[in-house]
């Protein structure tokens, strides 16, 4: 275990704890704030993987913009626990069974895949997450999917404007 690995495990534990807190927080605002912490922790993972550009863009876009909008909506709607419709027992049971089966499936997949076996954590390797290689890759090898996704964004923007004008 070197310092990087300790950092990795501490960060992973932090991510998982924050993610659990998102689910079990009673107050939706607290959930959103925990979710912001999750994004920060994930950005930390990106930095450990030598993907600094990805890390910082993750913070700007998710933690900085999208989560602010989440907070906006929740603050304005003023969601309170007692006003929320209570779910029936049957619905809860179905949810637990469905979620549990999905979890089992995921664990089985990880167990079956031998490439995960006792492999050490890959840290500080690769350069694709740095800004120069990433830009080169996006504008040479993947230029068509990149441009198509920008058209998708444009149509989403036009759609938002049209809905906003109504």
């Amino acid at each position: 275990m070197n310092a990087l690995e300790i950092l990795f495990y501490a960060l992973s534990a932090f991510t998982i704890v924050s993610a659990i807190m998102v689910l079990i927080s009673k107050n939706p605002i607290h959930s959103v704030l925990w979710l912001i912490l999750v994004f920060f922790a994930i950005s930390g993972h990106y930095i450990l993987l030598n993907a600094q550009f990805l890390a910082i863009v993750n913070i700007i876009v998710y933690a900085g913009a999208i989560m602010v909008l989440f907070l906006f909506v929740i603050m304005l709607m003023n969601v309170k626990k007692d006003k929320e419709p209570q779910k029936q027992l049957l619905v809860k049971l179905i949810g637990v069974i469905a979620g549990g089966s999905f979890l089992t499936l995921l664990i089985a997949l990880v167990k079956q895949n031998t490439s995960f076996d006792r492999s050490s954590v890959l840290l500080k390797e690769g350069t694709i997450g740095l800004i120069h290689p990433l830009g080169k890759a996006l504008f040479t090898d993947f230029v068509v999917p990149f441009e198509i996704s920008s058209v998708l964004f444009l149509s989403a923007m036009v759609g938002a404007v049209i809905i906003g004008k109504k």
């Binding site: 704030l33 700007i60 900085g64 304005l76 800004i131």
Partner: protein, 347 residues
Amino acid sequence: MTLLAFDWAYVIEKLILIIIIVLTTLLITLYTTFGERKVAAILQDRPGPNRAGPFGLLQPLADGLKLIMKEEIIPTAASKWLFILGPGLAMTASLMTCAVIPWSTEVHLFGRTIALQVADVNIGILYIFAVVSMGVYGIMIGGWASNNKFSLMSALRAASQAISYEIAMGLALIALLMTTGTLSLKTIVEDQVAGHWWNVVYQPLGFLIFFICAMAECNRTPFDLPEAENELNFGYHQEYSSMKLGFYLFAEYVNMIMSSAIMASMYFGGYDLPFFDESTVAPNIAAMIGIGTLLIKIVLFVFLFMWIRWTIPRFRYDQLMNLGWKKMIPLALLNMLITGALILSKL
């Protein structure tokens, strides 16, 4: 023992640098509040604070002491932890920016070469952006946790203002990045030192847009709508008292200093003293001259902020939004197009 195999001298060096920078920033901030009152006094033709100490120089200390000694009130209906977290976040976010600002060239001390920049990351400008977008949370959390209508309204105003002006700011920066070709602030400053002109010559429109957006991001007049007294009582910090209020007010001044430092570094040559060849003096002296130059540039920008604040009245909220979305963003896009065309024609 591989666990502790760091370069410990490096860690200590960085720690000392961080402490010095943060303390200096706070000290300058303290005197910026004094400067603000003096500038206001000069513009309004009155003497200003002149009682505490010679020329009133001890006034900021008295103000700080007053804020600390006041009773701390947390409203019973407030969400306590978030109420405390709000001002802390605002202050942290504004101080975090100073990590990537290159304060000067290197100094040589005790046989070591110490770069006067905490972190030269290759994503420096994006880092500043991330920190700026974090600053919104301090205001939003504080405004919501106060459990007061006016605080919440003002927090929402502040957040939507910040988000709107961040876009134009980013677009203005993209044009700058197209000319410099790097995201590292250190390289940007070094290119300006080595080159003939500062970046403001290549990006005059970009600088203007950036300056206006920086003013909006710092919640300074004419963009101080989150604090509009006559509509919202006092703003998002209405329920705050004592040093928690002080943190919010201080964070605004720290933001102002940091954005001045960023503007000086990106558009006005950073620590570059014009018409002076740094290589003719010893490196340590050159570094000191660099720090002094950057500080003077920062003070000039801060003075410009204050001058504007005490000259121009506040916008109405719809005017602010119109300016942000319908004028700043198209202008920034135009600036980007022109820059792109010029770069293309030079190739």
